[in-house]
Assembly symmetry: C4
Homo-oligomer: 237 residues x 4
């Protein structure tokens, strides 16, 4: 149980970091797979990430049904987590949010590519989920059931990040720390790539596939440095 | 009277939130209709929103005349509130301000459209009020009387937001919380749409009318989450 | 003497406000004319504006010579103040600084114009001072003597703001409060006009001359509201 | 020993300033040459700059080997410091980091030039290090050995700043204070030049070589003003 408590504490800290780094505002959520039962995951009740505490964490099965609801309000889009955990056994943690610089890349034809080594995980591709294809032309844009969640998981494929047109993005990782790192640097990359694309009038040298692959391996060993800093800053607020 | 006090307290909090979220600077104001008398509304005396307290709230009739002036200085543009409340019985709260990212959309030919679900309320259209048409070519740009206020209300029509060329914007809602939510996400939307329009060289997929309508219904139930976060942050300053 | 002390206290506060509003960084300075002797002005010793206190204020004559130097280090560019006070008897306070959004307008052919009523004082024109014309092609860019200061004053003419190519800008006003107001809204205007010019691809409706003139009169009565807010925020740091 | 302790204290403060000024995030590092032994330099153990304290400083020789490792984790890219100190006897302090506005200039064909006097040190040129030329097409982008460090030093030549494509930049100076000043104003310059290049559609008047040279001499005497402000702000956090 020590390990589980440690992971749930990290999940609370992940919520605070994402808020403090301005990756989430009042909306957005982060989940982690159960360390001993891969058919379960943890996610806060419906609450702003900055306000999440240990007692707000709920447990869900992979159909995104709560194990012990106790009448608590749930995020409408918990199905993103359940369906992506189903489709991606390699994934341990998921963030869904509306980080600002990423939104434009979901509504234009320009692709989001890795401008520097910190965001090398984007090299596998950043597909765009068009909800009209699976949900029709009149949805409220939310991934509010398992069918939409499964369609999003299909769009995500083996990538680290998928964009949701007119909505936000979803980021996955092999650990809570990795997914937080990726969420932060997806936002940074979007901001810097936007500037570079204008400055270079569309002609930008992004990382090539080999550079990105090597960099992702290197970065994995460096994530702790960012986590410790962001954690200290978030908890000091 | 409990309800009235609760609403006036929320009006003070709305002032603080709008300041803390950088939607207003030293200027801008927010009003609420009297809960029991639709011919009256409440608005602070002339003061920066961040500094408004309960004792600064004044009561006005729909001609924007103060019920009990006591020599207090009033906002020059209180007529915006009176005239919009007259023209729009469905409106309970109004913000007028100069939120920065919105200003450019008032002085160019490009329309402000909803880039994502958070700002779906923009889908009804965002008309631009050209004061030269009703006030002539030499005004001081302010909506400083009932005639100009009525002209602005006509431009606003049934929309949630209208832009004032060379000046700012006005946002309306069905409650204090809704109008604050809309003022914040109008600013966010303007910023993100500006980026997307450049990145996509003008080719951007905005929400369609059905998506926007469905999303606005959904969002109405989610506004409380943002309000609670913004309130906690504003009052902690 | 009460009035003088009050003005010098306001000069200290002006320094703090300009720093808190990010109009100045470690560099930049603000001066005020002596209330009883128009041939004298006050300016801090060489120090970052955020760190200026009452004891740092020095008195100068209009040749920018210190009345009582006591070995204190002076700003190299104090001549801007002396020469502009000489040339402009209507001016009571002057700011020289490098506010970021204004810098680009000093090095391109595009003019800085008033995008909204808050910056209507720009309507008189915003000339650019090219130091190569009076100082030759190899200066260190600084207005470091009376001749350069006089040349800058000539470029400024009757305007409220002049840009210094590759350097910064100078803002003048009829009072400390007005010059602070103008310095802040020159920066805001530059930022918003930059966005609008791109969004509208160069086609932007700026305030016309009559609107700007009427607005400037109106604003003069509203400056106190911003001053009180900015003062409270700057002193709370 | 007094001098050495004073320099190491300044190195700690430099770490804190670079973090507080948002020039570094969790990554990036700053070094200083040993004041009495030019074949040695000081650099923190692998840690976020904001968290560096006196006890974290390690000593290295110019092959970037630690003098007294004590099992501490080292920055992978310490070779940047060793090789640049070898190649540039005039350099006393070095910063390597990923300051955001600079990244785009490393991946496009547009050159980074000095837009104003504060960044006149850029006038010597800002070469771009393409790691593919010395490290091949499949590196992890890091300067992780002496050979890559030497190649980077060759690209840097006699300049104050070099960009690393898809990675970040390196800044050198004659003192800790100078290198911090340069790192901050390289970031500011990149941001302002980006805006100016768009506003002027590529036609921008940058400082000429003579202006830049004269300005760099002048600035050297003014660096202390920024250092004292930034130090006070960083230590107050």
């Amino acid at each position: 149980m020590v390990e589980l408590e440690s992971i749930l504490n990290d999940l609370v800290i992940a919520n605070r970091i994402l808020a403090n780094e301005n990756v989430v505002d009042a909306y957005g959520h982060v989940s982690v797979r159960h360390p001993r039962d891969p058919q379960r995951f943890f996610l806060a009740r419906s609450l702003s990430p900055e306000r999440v505490e240990r007692g707000d964490i709920m447990e869900f099965d992979l159909d995104s049904a709560p194990v012990d609801p106790r009448g608590r309000t749930m995020y409408i889009e918990r199905f993103i987590h359940g369906e992506v955990f189903k489709a991606r056994p390699d994934v341990t943690a998921i963030v869904h949010h509306h980080s600002p610089s990423v939104i434009p890349f979901g509504v234009v034809a320009v692709r989001l590519e890795p401008i520097y080594h910190m965001s090398s995980f984007l090299s596998a591709g950043v597909p765009v989920f068009e909800i009209r294809e699976s949900g029709g032309p009149a949805t409220d844009m939310l991934v509010r059931n398992s069918a939409l969640g499964a369609a999003l998981a299909t769009t995500l494929g083996d990538c680290a990040v998928a964009l949701l047109r007119g909505h936000g993005n979803v980021v996955v990782g092999g650990s809570i720390r990795e997914v937080v790192f990726r969420a932060v640097y997806t936002e940074v990359n979007a901001k810097l790539a936007t500037e570079a694309l204008r400055l270079g009038q569309g002609r930008v040298t992004f990382l090539n596939a080999e550079e990105a692959k090597a960099s992702t391996v290197t970065n994995r060993a460096q994530i702790g440095r960012a986590w410790e800093l962001w954690k200290a800053q978030a908890l000091a607020r």
